[in-house]
Each structure stands twice: as C-alpha cells, then as structure tokens.
C-alpha cells in the first residue's frame, strides 16, 4: 500500500457493482445539469469547491509571497503593489469563506452522504437542492465578475465606511456573497426537513450518526443567521448603488451598525463552518479506532449548544469598536461559555480513542491533526475573548492565526472526509501513500505558517500590513516557507485524488469497516441508493462487520451468523 501500484489488484467479479451506478446510469451534459440526484449534485459541488480551493489557495500563496520582505513605505515590492496585495488577501478570504468552507462539508459531502446515512432515496426537496447549487454557481460567477473588473480590496468582511467609498468592484462580490448565502440557506433548510421527515421510523434521534446531528445544528444556524447577512449585504449594495446614507455618518447613518449585522451572521458562520467538521470527526475517529463513540448524547447536545450559543457572541468582534463596557463584559462571558461544548467534544473524542485500535489511514491522520489544530485554534480564541488581552491582540496576526487554526481545521477535516468517502463517491481507492504524504506535509506546513503568525502577532505585528518593521521579517519568512510547504502538500493531495480517478483500484462497498448505512450499499451507489431498505443499527457498533482479507474490505455479518456480544463490549 505504500507504493503506486494502485490499479493492480482486482476484486472478485461477484463483488463488483453490476456496472450501473449513479455515475453511469445516465450520460451527457444535460443528465448532470438538470439532475435531481443528491449524489450528482454533491459531486458537482465537490468538484467546484476543490477547484475554488485551489484558486483561493493560490491567492493565499500570493499573499505570503508579498510578505517575506518588509519593503519601503510607499513603494511596491517588485511587481506587487500595496493595492494588489489588498486584493490578494480580500479574494483569498472571500473565496475561502463564502465559496469553499461554508458549503464545503455540508453542501458537497453532506449532500452525498446525508440521505445515504438515513437510508433515504434523496433529500426532501431535490429541486431546491439543485436550485441552491445554481445559486452557488451564480455567486461564483459574480465573484469572478469582480475579479475581471479589477478585484476588491475591502477584506472579506466588507466593513463600512471603506466598502462604501472604495472605487473597486464591491457590488459584484457582495451580490455574490448574497447569492452564496441563499444557497447556504436552502441547503440547510433541505437537510433539516430531510432529517426530520425522511428518517426511517426505526432510527430515533439518538440512533443517528453524529454527523447528522452536526449537520442539523448547522442547518439551524444557516436558516436563522444567513438572512441577516443577506439583508446587510443588500443594504450595502443599496448604499453603494443609490447612496441611501444609512452607513454614512455625514448623512446621520452609522457605519458600526454594519459590523453588528455582519458579525451577527459571520460569527455563527464560523460554527456553520466548524460544526460539520466536528460531525465528520465523530465518524472518522470511531471507524479508524474501531471504538464505539464515547458520550454520544453529550456530543449530540453539544452540537446544538454550539449552534445556539453561537448566536449570542457576535459582539466579541467589536470589543474595540466603541461598545459599552457592560456589553463587552456580557459578550466576553458568553464567548467563554461556547468553549464548554467545544471542549466536551474534544474530550469525548479523546476518550473514544482510548484503548482503540488506531489505524493511521489518511482520513485518520487528518482527524488526529484536527484535534491538535482545533485545540490550539479554540484555546487561542479564549485569549481573544478576554477583554484585556484582546485590546492588545486585536487586529494583529494573532487573530489571523487563531482564525486559520479554526478554519483550516475545517479544511483538513474536509479533506479527511473527502478521502474517507472518496471510495463511496467515485468507486475508486486513492493511493494511500500519496494521501498520507499530502496530509502530513500540508499539516506540517500549516503549523509552521501559523505558529509563526501567533508569535509575531503577540509581539504586535498588525494584520493586513503590506510594509512592516524589519524586526518581524524572520517570522514572515518562516510563515511564507510554511505556506509553500502547505501548498505543496495540498498539491500532492489533489494529485492523489485525480490519480485515483484514472488509476485507482475498484473500491469495495465497505473499505473502512464503517457501520453507518452508506456503507451498506455499493460503491458507487446505484441511482436509487439502496436496493432494499437497509436495517437500522447502532451507527458505532463495529461488531456488525468483519474484515475480509480477500477483498481488503469489510463485510456486514449476516444476522444469523452474529454471535451474541457480551455486555459491556464498548
């Protein structure tokens, strides 16, 4: 498995799907463009998101390439001017947040996996599902329009009054974010209804895989927070287009109001991004340690708790924006309380691993990496939630590093999930060695990049500066080197995935030994997902499957062969 002999081993013919699966049942452009199949929509999302992940990553590398030299105030660094640099980091942020991470796990993988995990034929509203994909496309097109028109330089937060006065192409990007928001709303709506109404009768709430709890909680945030972003972006467009004056102090308006509205969405949006990753974690860690999840109900409830608390903390972005001390104190306290459900999850995951039979396949490497990365990202959030330290750390690289440790945690879990479900989605096994190298290099590079940024941030290096004090140069150089290592790691990952499509060996129905329902159907699944309704079982009872050395995969043990399992086997 450590060599590139991917296509060598063939499966016994009996185990192969009959050749008619959701990928092959229908051909041609129209069969994809007008498909109502959640799996195809998921694949289209996945393709688009991976492409834009590369584009967003390219902008990140351009940002880092601009920074190893301090530069001389007022002068360009070679071909890169300060204005260009501003556009780099804006586009990096906007693409990664709105186009890649928010839809990443729910829309791409959730779309594919969620109905399968429920044993359902599709999501509740297949047409709305397709519509939200086209909303995503529209948002992407609008974002690209602004690129063609010269880019945006506001930062991904679009703060007023700068965003209402800069002469760059703000309107297309903001309109794009608006469309992406609606895509997100309809995805969340669809998933909530699907989980409520298409759950098999035998599958009670506490028999669902934990990913579904996470996606459900995400859906709550999506449908309740995103419209508020929608309205504020709409107002920003109106302000720019016809000068309505509500953000313009000269006309009696209030620019800080924008920040409140923006963060009322965008802080919960952080949970939109992280919650599905947490759900994926519960799946990966159990399967690759062959252990039943520890503390199921705590993990389930903590997802909901994070979703609810997430609505009440937006003010911690405005500690230095002239908020009253009372408000600051309240927001700080609630911010700390969000750490509780997050910590509950981490401790439960660690307890799950305890005495497990840990198998360091690529998804597991990503999952273990997430615990480290999210641990640092989460704990540094407490530094920023503390009022006194935030005054020092606000708008420094410390914030940038904190944010990336959390968000890239999602990205790494996303890639872990892509590798985990890749055999199910594409019916091909990726090359394990390549996958592992990609995972490890990108995570090592990531840590170099952003640990250096924590360091210089705590020393006072402000974020978004193009020219800086030469004192910070070593940190910037380290950070840029790390970024290139990370970029190389992700490149390997991409090569690994693309390689598997052409040279990967056929995937068995259950290569990892998962027991959630999607592993009970063929890889790739047939058009209608299941030949017969699969039996609902405990999603983490790994005694239901046994390893089959012939296929290097797992088989579900037929009910009549199952030996009574002694009590306390968990």
């Amino acid at each position: 498995m450590s060599t590139l002999d991917a296509s060598a081993a063939a499966l016994p013919a009996a185990d192969l799907p009959a050749g008619d699966n959701y990928l092959t049942c229908d051909r041609g452009f129209k069969s994809w463009a007008f498909t109502l199949d959640h799996k195809r929509i998921g694949v289209m999302y996945l393709t688009g998101i991976l492409i834009f992940f590369m584009i967003g990553g390219l902008f990140a590398l351009l940002v880092r390439t601009s920074l190893p030299v301090p530069g001389v105030a007022g002068q360009a660094k070679g071909p890169i001017t300060a204005e260009l640099y501003n556009k780099f980091f804006t586009l990096h942020g906007a693409i990664m947040v709105f186009i890649v991470i928010i839809p990443g796990i729910p829309a791409a993988l959730g779309n594919f996996v969620l109905p399968l995990m429920l044993g359902a034929k599709d999501v509740a509203f297949p047409r709305i599902n397709l519509m939200s994909f086209y909303f995503w496309c529209a948002g992407v097109v609008l974002a690209l329009t602004s690129l063609v028109l010269g880019g945006v330089d506001t930062g991904w937060t679009f703060y007023t009054p700068y965003s209402t006065t800069t002469n760059t192409a703000v309107i297309p990007v903001v309109a794009g974010a608006f469309m992406l928001g609606f895509s997100s709303i309809f995805t969340g709506l669809n998933f909530i209804v699907t989980i409520h109404k298409l759950r098999p009768p035998e599958m009670g709430w506490f028999k669902m895989p934990l990913l579904l709890w996470a996606i459900y909680s995400t859906g709550i945030v999506q449908i309740l927070a995103t419209p508020v972003l929608g309205i504020i972006l709409l107002l920003l467009i109106v302000e720019r287009a016809v000068g309505i004056g509500i953000f313009d102090p000269a006309l009696g308006g209030d620019p800080v109001l924008f920040q409140h509205f923006f963060w009322f969405y965008s802080h919960p949006a952080v949970y939109i991004m992280i919650l599905p990753a947490m759900g994926v974690m519960s799946e990966l860690l159990t399967v690759f340690s062959r252990r039943h999840i520890f503390g199921y109900s705590f993990i389930a409830y903590s997802s909901v708790a994070i979703a609810v608390f997430g609505f009440l903390v937006w003010g911690h972005h405005l500690f230095v924006s002239g908020q009253s001390n009372l408000l600051n104190t309240i927001f700080s306290a609630i911010t700390f309380s969000v750490a509780v459900p997050s910590a509950i999850k981490v401790f439960n995951w660690l307890a799950t691993l305890y005495k497990g039979s840990i198998n360091l396949k690529t998804p597991m490497i990503y999952a273990l990496g997430f615990i480290w990365i999210f641990g640092i990202g989460g704990l540094t959030g407490l530094f920023l939630g503390t009022l006194a330290t935030d005054v020092h750390l606000h708008d420094t690289y410390f914030v940038v590093a904190h944010f990336h440790f959390v968000m890239a945690g999602t990205i790494f879990t996303f890639f872990g999930a892509v590798h985990y479900w890749w055999p199910k989605i594409m019916g091909k096994m990726y090359n394990e060695a390549l996958g592992r190298w990609g995972a490890m290099l990108s995570m090592i590079g990531f840590n170099i990049t952003f640990l250096a940024q924590f360091w210089m941030g705590s020393l006072g290096m402000p974020r978004r500066y193009f020219h800086y004090d030469p004192f910070f140069q070593p940190y910037h150089v380290a950070s840029t080197i790390g970024a290139y290592i990370m970029g190389f790691g992700f490149l390997l990952t991409m090569i690994c995935l693309v390689h598997s499509l052409f040279r990967g060996k056929r995937a068995a129905a259950n290569p990892w030994g998962g027991v959630t329902l999607e592993w009970r159907t063929a890889s790739p699944p047939p058009h209608y997902n299941f030949d017969r309704t699969p039996p609902v079982t405990d999603p983490y009872d790994f005694n239901l499957v046994r390893y089959n050395a012939d296929t290097d995969a797992y088989d579900f043990i037929p009910a009549e062969e199952r030996v009574a399992v002694p009590a306390g086997h968990h």
Partner: protein, 329 residues
C-alpha cells in the same frame, strides 16, 4: 444488483403504486405534505429573520433620530396605507378560502379565490406605485437626494417645461435617476430652506419636470394629496401631535433637518423589500392559478396551495407591522 438495474430502468415500478403527485423519494403523500409544509415554515423563519434585520435597523435609526421619524412619517399618506392594509388582509382571507376550497376539491371556487387574491396583490402594488411616484416626484426620497419639493410647485414647473421632451420617459423608475442626477446642492437647500423652495425647482425644472410629467393622471392624484399637504394628510391624530403646524412648514422643516431622509431611506428599504416579496407572491399566485385552472389540485393533493398560502400570509403579516411603524409614527 439486478434489482438496482431494474429500479433504474423503471423508477416508479415499486411494489406499491405511487400516486402521480407523489415524488419518488417519499413513501406516502402524508410524508410529502408534511415535508413541504415544514420546509415552508423553515423558509418563513428565514424570511422573518431577513425582515427583522431591517426592523432592527428601523429601531436603531428611530432611537437615534426620533424627531426625524415623526416628521418623516407625515410625508406618508396613512389613508393609502390603510387601504393597502385592508386590501392585503382581504387577499389573505381569499387565499385562506382558496385553501379551504382546494381541500374540498371545489375547483371553481378555488380559481375564483385565487383570482381575487391576485386582484388584491395587483391593487396593492398599484397603490404602492402611486405612493412611490408621488414621493419620487416630490423628491421625498433617501440619502442625499432628499429634497422635498411641494407637488404644486413642481407641477407649475412641469407646465412651464417644454413639452417636446416630455413623452420619452414613462414610469417612475425613469423618473428616479432623473430626479437624482440634477441634485448636487442639497447642502445649500437645507441651509436656506425658504430660498431653496423657490430656487431649487427652477434649477431642477429642465430635468425633473419632464420626467414626471407623463404620468400626469396618476401623478395628479398624488399631487392632490400632497396639495392637501402633509398636515392635510395627517388630518386626524397627527395634527394634534404636531400642534397644527402650517402646511408649508413640514417641507421646510424637513429640509432644515439633516436626518429626515433616514426615515425615508428606511421606508423605501422596508416597503421596497416587501414590494419585491409581493411581486414574488404575484408570480406564485399566477402559477397556482394556472395549476388550479388545469385542475391539478384536489382533496388528495393541495400542498402547493397550502404552502403558497403560508407564504402569502407572511407577506401580509409583514405589511401589518410595516403600516403602523411607518405610517402611524
């Protein structure tokens, strides 16, 4: 695996026959109905949050500028608002009756109710058009374009304006940029209100007057109301609050203050967004009407009518909040 092939070839060849209205991934019509209705409720919660953003905006701006809101709302005609409220409530009733008839397979009654609802929606938009065009005509608009100018003065200048240029621009949307484009001197206007009333229209006449001229019949009615003046509009309770201000003062006063435009900004945002929802509702009702005429809905399958009705009631409900918050400040 042979089963899978078979299923693919004939998606509806399940053991139990699917009713034609039942999508393949649902097991029973009840499940489909529940899912649709639940989905619509979730969508409505999204809509509520969408509007509540603007309502919060209203709250904040009003708290900062209470007088501007009191003054600004006198530019709105509460009678038109009240008529619109009644129209929407009535259309909600006909929509609800439509659901009732659909559930009982009474197709003609359903079609009749949907037509009535549609008429209500169009009436609402018509009255909204009258209000908007009047305001745009008198430059009672948002932001720096705000420069309230009495209707009859504008009308005088209209009459003085050369008629050759008149016919080209037909609608209020055309009037909007035109009235905006000539507007570089709001500061001067607010600095010397009395002078501005005299001088501004003169400066503006060549631009704004032709733009608003063609819509004269409708416009005239708006102007008549404006002619009664904001204090005339506010003949009822408003007068007592405002202490019987002379007509002219509302315009002059509004110009003097620098924040009245904020009220109108909020007004146009809220009613504009609501108007877009009414337009979406019109499209939806037309679709439902076509379906009803084709006889698609009956006691077994009335989900679209039911779900569409929910949406229409929300649009109605939002207006019921908007009316007092904007017209009856």
């Amino acid at each position: 695996m042979a089963d899978a092939v078979q299923t693919n070839a004939q998606p509806h060849a399940d053991a139990h026959a699917h009713p034609s209205n039942l999508q393949h991934h649902f097991d029973t019509p009840a499940q489909q109905f529940d899912a649709s209705k639940f989905g619509m409720w979730l969508f409505l919660s999204t809509e509520v949050l969408f509007f509540s953003g603007l309502f919060l905006f209203y709250t904040v701006v009003r708290r900062h500028h209470p007088d501007a809101f009191a003054l600004g709302s006198t530019f709105l005609d509460w009678r038109l608002g009240a008529i619109n409220t009644l129209v929407l409530i009535a259309s909600s009733l006909t929509m609800a009756l439509g659901v009732y008839f659909a559930q009982r397979s009474m197709q003609r009654a359903l079609v009749f109710c949907l037509v009535l609802t549609l008429i209500g929606a169009f009436t609402f938009m018509g009255i909204k058009y009258i209000e908007y065009s009047h305001k745009i005509h008198e430059q009672i608009v948002w932001g720096k374009w705000f420069n309230p100018t009495r209707g009859h003065e504008a009308a005088e200048h209209e009459n003085a304006a050369p008629h050759g240029e008149v016919a080209s621009q037909q609608d209020a949307e055309a009037a909007e940029p035109a009235s905006g484009s000539h507007e570089p001197q709001p500061a001067a206007a607010s600095a010397a209100p009395a002078a501005a009333i005299q001088s501004q229209p003169t400066a503006a006449s060549t631009d704004s007057a032709p733009a608003s001229e063609p819509a004269l019949p409708i416009e005239q009615s708006g102007i008549m109301m404006a002619g009664n003046g904001p204090s005339g509009l506010a003949a009822g309770e408003e007068v007592e609050e405002k202490g019987e201000e002379p007509e002219l003062d509302t315009y002059a006063l509004a110009k003097q203050r620098k924040d009245v435009h904020l009220f109108l900004g909020v007004y146009f945002c809220l009613t504009g967004l609501h108007g877009i929802h009414v337009l979406a509702g019109i499209v939806m009702i037309i679709c439902l009407l076509i379906g009803a005429i084709k006889g698609r809905y009956n006691s077994d399958y009335y989900t679209p009518i039911d779900v569409g009705g929910l949406y229409w009631h929300l649009v109605d409900l939002v207006w019921i909040f908007l009316f007092p918050l904007l017209y009856l400040v």
